[in-house]
């Protein structure tokens, strides 16, 4: 009873949303862009886009946080920038390498092909260049990269974030002492 009432309300809210939304028909260029994005943006590119946009927003959000003192704010901004750079570089590299690795081990089986080359190929696949197969490789590569990142989080991310935070903080302090003359 309660579940169907929630479903009905959710449907009504959604319907109101779609009623207020104008019909949107894409032009040829936008259509091409959407299709390319669907085919080419894997989790690695997604991480890169997130990192680039994070650099454009998060440091400014931290900088305008008036609830903390100036020193804490400076360190928070430096740490945020360092965390974004370290996280994006490692995140992108690990995802990309994992996806490449899966692609190398998921070929359509052929006569005489070493077994490892089709180790990750699902048995239902017949076409190597289909969008579905490419998305499958991206998905599996991304799941494997999550396991790899359990280690790289400690081995690369954390020390690199610390190193970059200290360097950025040192520069910010020097800049403050010279009154931003440099």
């Amino acid at each position: 009873m309660a579940i169907s009432a929630i479903k009905n309300t959710a449907n009504r809210v959604q319907q109101a949303f779609y009623n207020s939304m104008p019909n949107f028909v894409t032009g040829d260029k936008a259509d091409k862009l959407y299709k390319t994005a669907g085919r080419e943006i894997s989790s690695a590119e997604n991480r890169l886009i997130l990192g680039a946009t994070a650099l454009m927003s998060q440091p400014f959000i931290d900088y305008s946080n008036s609830k903390i003192d100036e020193d804490t704010r400076r360190v928070a901004v430096c740490r945020t920038i360092a965390k974004i750079i370290a996280g994006t570089v490692t995140g992108y590299a690990v995802r990309k390498l994992s996806i490449k690795g899966i692609q190398a081990c998921s070929h359509i089986p052929e006569k005489g092909m070493p077994k490892w080359k089709s180790f990750f190929t699902p048995k239902d696949v017949t076409k190597a260049n289909s969008d579905e197969f490419k998305q499958y490789q991206n998905a599996l590569g991304t799941f494997i990269s999550l396991g790899v990142m359990l280690f790289t989080n400690f081995l690369i991310d954390a020390p690199l974030t610390k190193f970059l935070t200290n360097n950025l903080n040192k520069r910010a302090l020097a800049n403050k002492d010279t009154g931003g003359a440099k």
Binding site: V25, D31, A37, M56, I61, I68, Q135, Y136, A139, L146
Partner: protein, 198 residues
């Protein structure tokens, strides 16, 4: 079930679930990424010998709170944006010229925007299947990316700053109270009576 069979069915499931739905994959792997990252942060505190046990009792729940904000904000916002856009393609609100032409040809324009209308379930869907799938995949991926930018780069940092500032204020109040309590200075007699030696 043998290990080989289990691995084979895992591959088939991944292929069926994410092969035609890259947007869903981005939401699921993104959420899994946040969960693992929060787990790593919590483990780092638990295994850090330099942190005193009393401090750990504060830091661990703090990190769990932080992780929950990240995970929930990412999942709720990203999947909502993705699902709304995905449904808009399924009911024809967002379309390309081919899909629009198909809806007009099959006299389905009066159903555009209806929540229960699904182009995939229409009679002649096979005519546009390939074009529709790649268009929908593109919209899904871009919507997931936009949703994650909104949650990770705007909403989460604002929520986290509010939460952290509140926490810092509480900690500072606590430290100030401790400073106000004078230390009990141990006299030489008390020291001797305690049985300790210099």
């Amino acid at each position: 079930m043998s290990l080989e069979k289990a691995f084979s069915s895992l591959k088939s499931n991944l292929y069926k679930n994410y092969g035609e739905n890259p947007g869903k994959m981005l939401v699921h792997t993104g959420t899994a990424g946040w969960i693992l990252s929060s787990a790593a942060q919590i483990m780092a505190i638990i295994t850090n010998d330099k942190i005193a046990p009393e401090q750990k009792t504060f830091l661990i729940p703090q990190e769990i709170g932080d992780g929950l904000i990240n995970i929930l904000s990412f999942y709720i916002l990203t999947s909502s944006v993705k699902n709304l856009c995905s449904k808009a393609v399924l009911n024809g609100k967002i379309a390309n010229k081919t899909i629009k032409g198909y809806l007009e040809k099959n006299k389905l324009t009066d159903k555009i925007g209806k929540v229960d209308f699904n182009i995939k379930k229409t009679q002649n869907y096979g005519e546009i299947k390939e074009d529709f799938t790649s268009f929908k995949n593109g919209v899904d991926v871009l919507a997931s990316t936009a949703g994650s930018i909104l949650s990770c780069n705007i909403v989460t940092p604002i929520l986290r700053n509010e939460y952290a500032a509140e926490r810092q204020k509480k900690m500072n109040d606590c430290l100030a109270k401790r400073k106000q309590t004078p230390y009990h200075r141990v006299t030489m007699n008390e020291f001797r009576n305690s049985g300790m030696r210099v």
